[in-house]
């Protein structure tokens, strides 16, 4: 009986997030076009500049489009995580988050529901992108599409949890531009999404080191290896550890007894 209460709550949050995503056509469109621009324009231009050697998990020479595709899927998930962070801040400012918080189910569970719903949305986007990329002749082994699913779940959870944690630090919607500058761009560019780590190392060993410990690099490598039917244990452990850390932090921050709610009295407190 209790399990069904939890399931109904999760279902309701997933349906709501799904409907919201479909209704916000601009967001749907932007989420799809962004990686396609990278694939169709950036990758074509960059192919000539960047020579790639054979590195795991690839067994042969590959085109730059093949290399960048897992990175772009990672980008979809990164943007999605930040998007849910943005909508958490928005909901909090507008007061509609209170509807969620007065549910009798424990607050950590409500956060997990939010997180899972966001991950599902990001996975749907990732597969739409894979489908389009397939026509772009980015064609990993067919089984790879199945093998990549657990990787997408884990990386989506980790990046979504990061978004949740960030949303507890952001006080106002206006500060979101800061997240863009200080989180999304550095995470994306200082990672193995666009260029392999050995290439970065040639330019700057320090940057290569930073990219190596960047959780986003680990997420991208997890996706890349899974897509080519290999398991990257380091990436798996790193992503899982970051997930625990970020989600734990977010749960603490949203706890009614501590964190920012208790400190400053929640949203738009007037008396």
């Amino acid at each position: 009986m209790t399990a069904s209460l939890y399931w109904r709550c999760l279902r309701a949050v997933i349906i709501r997030e799904g409907l919201r995503f479909v209704h916000q056509r601009e967001r749907f469109f932007a989420a799809l076009v962004r990686p396609l621009v990278w694939l169709a324009i950036f990758a074509v231009g960059f192919r000539a500049v960047l020579g790639l050697s054979i590195i795991p998990p690839y067994e042969t020479y590959i085109l730059y489009e093949d290399y960048v595709t897992p990175g772009l899927v990672g980008m979809i998930q990164l943007f999605n995580g930040m998007q849910s962070s943005l909508s958490m801040v928005y909901d909090r400012e507008m007061g509609s988050m209170k509807t969620l918080l007065v549910s009798p189910l424990p607050r950590w569970y409500l956060l997990v529901c939010k997180l899972l719903a966001g991950v599902l949305v990001s996975i749907a986007q990732a597969y739409v992108f894979f489908a389009i990329a397939w026509f772009w002749e980015v064609q990993p082994p067919p089984l790879g599409y199945l093998a990549v699913l657990p990787a997408l779940v884990l990386s989506g959870l980790m990046l979504g949890a990061l978004g949740l944690l960030l949303s507890s630090f952001i006080r106002q919607l206006e500060n979101f531009a800061g997240v863009m500058n200080f989180v999304i761009f550095p995470m994306f560019f200082a990672s193995s999404a666009l260029y392999p780590l050995w290439r970065i190392r040639e330019g700057s060993p320090t940057l290569a080191w930073i990219a190596g410990i960047n959780p986003f690099t680990q997420a991208v490598e997890l996706i890349r290896f899974a897509l080519y039917l290999q398991f990257n244990a380091t990436a798996f452990l790193a992503v899982a550890a970051c997930l625990v850390l970020f989600l734990g932090g977010a749960i603490l921050a949203y706890d009614p007894g501590r964190g920012f709610w208790a400190r400053r009295g929640g949203p738009a407190e007037q008396g």
Partner: protein
Amino acid sequence: MACYETAPPDQRAMSGTVAEPVLAVEGLSHSFGNRTVLDDVSFGIPAGRFAVLLGLNGAGKTTLFSLITRIYNTRRGSIRVFGFDMRRQPTQALARIGVVFQQPTLDPDLTVLQNLRYHGGLHGLAPAVIEQRAAEELTRIGLLERGDERVRTLSGGQRRRVEIARALLHQPSLLLLDEPTVGLDIELRRQVLDHVHDLCRERGLAVLWATHLIDEARDGDGVVVLHRGRVLAEGLVDEVCAAAGAPALGPAFARLTERATQKGTGQ
């Protein structure tokens, strides 16, 4: 965790030896940093009582609501809903509360029914139960045929009534409304007030209605006067008037707050 859909609260209260008020607030204090927002607040609301929480802006009404709905935790004092302590048994307590917040919280891009289903799901209601109760509540407020329309298309008054319908979906025994008539014209205000009074009478709901508008308290209602975080008076409207030595609630409120202010500056 115990299932919270089982025994109807009414029966629980009757089977108990002492009839517990639906909402019991005792010795509640809260502060943000050095600023004390609530200071030793105590009051109770029995079943079937429409109680007006009367206070000027900044009196502490919204903080009190946030504590009763556990947006954040009570630190000093206690809040009990049907005997369930908000700190120790939040699940059982929250399951018995319906809330209408000051800010609109319906999702304007979703339809009326989608909003209601979301809320029902958050409370763990089965889909069939949600559909049935949503139809009942929407019929009651005359919006059944608009269930599939987006909330955006509704007027302010209709949205408020949908929010009240939503708050009742899980059949709470305590209904909290935080300044629910903000932004409504005089006629709509009257309609919403009538509607909630009817609910109170027909279903034996305990209602806590926060407002700064004195005329929203009617004869026979309960009233809790909150001023700068303290309860100055509590009881039925005529009791509070009599105690303050005033002919009506308006002058009584003025007298009570004036006294409190003088006392405050005298200290």
